[in-house]
Amino acid sequence: MEEKKSTHWLDALSDGSAGLTTISSCMSVCDLQCNNYYKLVTAEIPLKIPEKRPPRLRVYKGNQVINDQALPGIASSVQSLYIDENEPKMPIIAVSVGPSIFFYRNMKAYFKYTIPSLMIEPLEQEIWRKLVVERQVNYEKLINDLKTMNFSQMSSLSQKLISLSESEREEFIRENSEPKLTRLSTIVCMTTIYKNIEEEKEPNCLIIVTEASDIFIMDIQNFGILHTARVCSFKATPDLISASGSYQNDYKIIISTREGSICILRKNWLEGREIVKLERAATSMSLLQIDQTIVVLSKSLMCYSKKGKMLWSLNMNDTVMCMCPVPLPHLGVSMICVALKNGLVQLYSQKNLIDQFQVGDTVLAMYFGKLGLEEQVLVLVTINGNLLIKILKRTADFSNPMVTDKKVEDEPSDMKIAIPKKSKIFVEQTVREKENAIAIHNIFQSELWRMRLEAAKVTVDILRTGDSTFSGDLQTPIKLLAQCDGLGPDFLLTLTLENISATKIVTNLSIIIHANPNHYKVDKQSVDLTPLVPGIPLITDFNVSIQITSENLLPPDMTLENSIIRVLIVKEKFAKPLIASTVVMPQPELQMLGTI
């Protein structure tokens, strides 16, 4: 990645002293005076708060400020839209500040719209009704009642009242003897869709999204609300919005929330539907107009279908700052421009890196589209207030991906999980499960208890008889292994005792061999063992021979079932053997009996 300078862009203008700080949503480009000379309208976001001078709304022609006026507050979004089809088509600018939207025509403010108030709690209304008529002594009780309410669900008036000191309260209440209780949410983002015809300079509708998760679709002609909807069924705070379509025909609105959900709202829906849940909130999001996929920039660049299926994802080398779609219909490609914190600006077509260039400092806001008389211009605003304007060369060819050594991540759709086919039996069984869920559960639970009892019984049995190769005793954890060698009638029985505890030494152990003397002759009946050290197995050999009759036959009452030898491991002063195990002796090879 040595190639940081791209040959596809012309550096048209660069103003290092523009002093403009803004974000992508507060940038809008429009043909402000209807002379086919597109201008940039931005609302300044002061980085130093509190800033002494109020935030500004500026119009740039190239890098020259041609209009600069004060805004009543920090804007959250700037949109340009067309009201009607009357010629000349003059766009109006909508700037959202707090709960209100200021509309500018010809850069003159001409309307202020405030979104409807949220519901006021009846309790609050009741308290205020009493406050106005009550005497000062009773204020305390009423205010305490007010404090029981959730602070965020109070009107601003009540919020202020609570924060006042006792002495100031009386005056405040007297001032507001006719309280107008309103609870206004803040507008977090706005976007536009077309009203009827999806063509440039056709009338628009404004989509307003508030922090309280309400979506309003507004007809600009009469400033009336056409449609109201909720972002999603659960509590979420919207953050970013992207939409396409026209109000009359069909439209989709994609909303990203601070909780990491991405929701979709279609025409006539009253509530959005969550389609994707991200690990962390999106930094930037866009519904691409061409292939109608949703591109999300979070920690990585991800692309989802409208159904919420991840199409691809791409890890980014650095912290991402912002993103904007770069549609190039004349080349038949649609790209995404991503700015990284290290000042690198990259262009991706799908998940292929196509082009990249380096900018002096971190890009904060981006816009791609018409500017001035040019069709394809990239506007970049950096964190230090630089305004950079780059024009795409008409000869630019983006058909070949850039060769980089960047490892392309595996597409998630390629990772096939081996899910077997749904067989007919599977479906039938599932139906049975669904229909008899309660009965199945009851049977399972009662049988489970029975099995637990069974297991407990067997365990007790094993503990009682010591019939195990393990000694369950915590003081003497030992393990016995036996091996029987030989073809018979003489066998070599090898017993291996192992201390399986980590630290403890087991002492005073003995082995007792218990066999039917009519069947087997054992060279030693018992052996006293040396202390058993952890990790070192102790091997003891026993010579066992079958008591053969004079005709070279097995003892008459010896069968397969009773050809066993019991091995007991006992510890001094313990009444019960630690291990009482049985070795099944193999049958001797009878030809051998004949020949020996």
Partner: protein, 462 residues
């Protein structure tokens, strides 16, 4: 005229009432010891009574021949050797999840000798009972079956130690019967080999395919598979008898050439298409070299020809189980059950299929039946091991641990149970205990990947 009692004996032989047949033959021979008919008949009856299909009952394992001086490539190409752990091809991910035997082969569906050595080492003492089969020669199984029965009868009519093979070699009709008697009933491989040699010496090249095949059989039995290959190949040139082919495949498996064995199988199948025995052998070899999908396909072919073939049914069922289709496995197991197989293992498998297939109400009744049918300690241990999975499934670790403890008490060599106990101990943050369990499991099954991984993990972590 034929003696009516001899005729009766013949009839009894045909009716497979061998004991009675032998009785009458004894009477006849006591009357006139010179008669050849009853003598032959008795030999045949005794052979039939203890006859085991040694092709079925044989251990297919590769034998390390101490006399084998040829040096084998230490790293054979994957899929060409039975010595190496199975070649798992890419895209065959399901095979990797199938449990392996101690020799690293995928677990098969039916307990055949040599395939079910999941339990490490036969030399381990188990709680209640243990069959201590020590490292004897491979024919031990056949020998014991045959010899024990004679022994109990106390019948020493035929004194084979003084038998002169060259006399019998001249009588072709008797020679075959005698050979079978020697091989299957007496289990005297050396004598039967002598007889083969005598016949072949007498007739030179005209001895016929039968004797070449039998010589190969004897040579395999004594562990000389390389020489057996020559005789079996020769026999196959004379006649492609399925027995010869099966013996030849076994010889190839013994000398670790599964691909050659498969080739022989294919050749045999060209001559005798749809021969179930050959198909079965093919499927088994494919399974041994780890080509499970191909093996299952062959088993499915067998099912089409012989819908009652338990081995094929259970192998297909096991395959379905391990490709996450327990409901399909259940269908096959139920078919085996309806065929009258009423064993502990089958109920255990059905129980597991029900558990994984979500048919929870049937799980316990299956396992309870399996417990009731379990006789040996190993069987009981296996059932308890499988019951522990219910505990793991419902998150009742104490129940699972209890089941596993029972399993270990019954069978101290159950490495998987030890491994799972280790994991439960780790979950309960009992580190020293977990370490102990993993160490024990590793000692029992040092080649098992899971156990290796677990003990490595715990060593690295703590």
């Amino acid at each position: 005229m034929m003696d009516p009692s001899y005729y009766k004996a013949l009839s009894l032989f045909r009716l497979r009432k061998y004991e009675k047949c032998i009785e009458i033959c004894n009477q006849l021979m006591n009357q006139s010891p010179q008669l050849q008919g009853p003598w032959e008949l008795k030999m045949r009856a005794m052979t039939q009574r203890v006859y085991v299909d040694d092709i079925e009952a044989e251990d297919d394992g590769v034998v390390d021949d101490p006399l084998d001086t040829e040096i084998l490539a230490t790293a054979p190409k994957p899929g060409t050797s039975l010595r190496t752990a199975t070649a798992v091809k890419t895209g065959q991910k399901t095979a990797a999840t199938r449990p392996r035997t101690s020799t690293g082969r995928p677990l098969t569906g039916l307990a055949r000798p040599g395939t079910m050595q999941q339990r490490a080492g036969t030399s381990l003492l188990t709680g209640n009972r243990t069959a201590l089969a020590t490292g004897r020669i491979n024919t031990a199984r056949n020998i014991r079956l045959g010899s024990a029965s004679i022994f109990n009868l106390g019948d020493n009519t035929f004194n084979m130690s003084r038998l002169n093979p060259s006399i019998f070699a001249t009588k072709p009709a008797v020679a075959k019967i005698l050979f079978q008697y020697l091989y299957y009933c007496e289990g005297d491989i050396k004598k039967s080999l002598d007889l083969c040699n005598a016949v072949m010496e007498l007739n030179k090249t005209e001895a016929g395919w039968y004797w070449y095949t039998q010589k190969g059989r004897c040579l395999i039995a004594v562990g000389n598979a390389r020489s057996a290959e020559y005789f079996l190949q020769y026999s196959m040139k004379l006649l492609t008898h399925p027995d010869t082919i099966l013996l030849l495949t076994r010889a190839y498996c013994r000398i670790d050439q599964p691909l050659a064995a498969l080739e022989v199988c294919n050749f045999g199948l060209q001559k005798q298409p749809d021969d179930v025995a050959l198909l079965k052998q093919q499927a088994r070899i494919l399974e041994l070299i780890g080509n499970l999908p191909a093996s299952v396909n062959v088993y499915k072919q067998i099912i089409k020809l012989d819908a009652m073939n338990t081995e094929a049914l259970s192998c297909i069922a096991v395959n379905y189980f391990y490709i996450y289709q327990p409901e399909m496995a259940l269908v096959y197991y139920r078919r085996i059950l309806s065929m009258g197989m009423n064993t502990c293992e089958l109920y255990c498998n059905i129980g597991l299929c029900c558990l994984y297939g979500g048919q929870l109400d049937l799980v316990f009744s299956c396992f309870q039946r399996a417990l009731r049918l379990a006789i040996s300690a190993e069987q009981k241990a296996d059932v308890w091991y499988n019951i522990s999975f219910i505990g793991l499934h419902i998150g009742d670790l104490d129940f699972a641990r209890r089941c596993l403890r029972i399993c270990i008490s019954l069978d101290g060599g159950h490495a998987s149970a030890l491994n799972n106990l280790g994991i439960i101990a780790l979950k309960k943050e009992n580190l020293t205990k977990a370490k102990m369990y993993f160490a024990l499991a590793k000692k029992l099954l040092p080649e098992n990947d899971e156990i290796k991984h677990n003990s490595r993990l715990i060593d690295a972590k703590y």
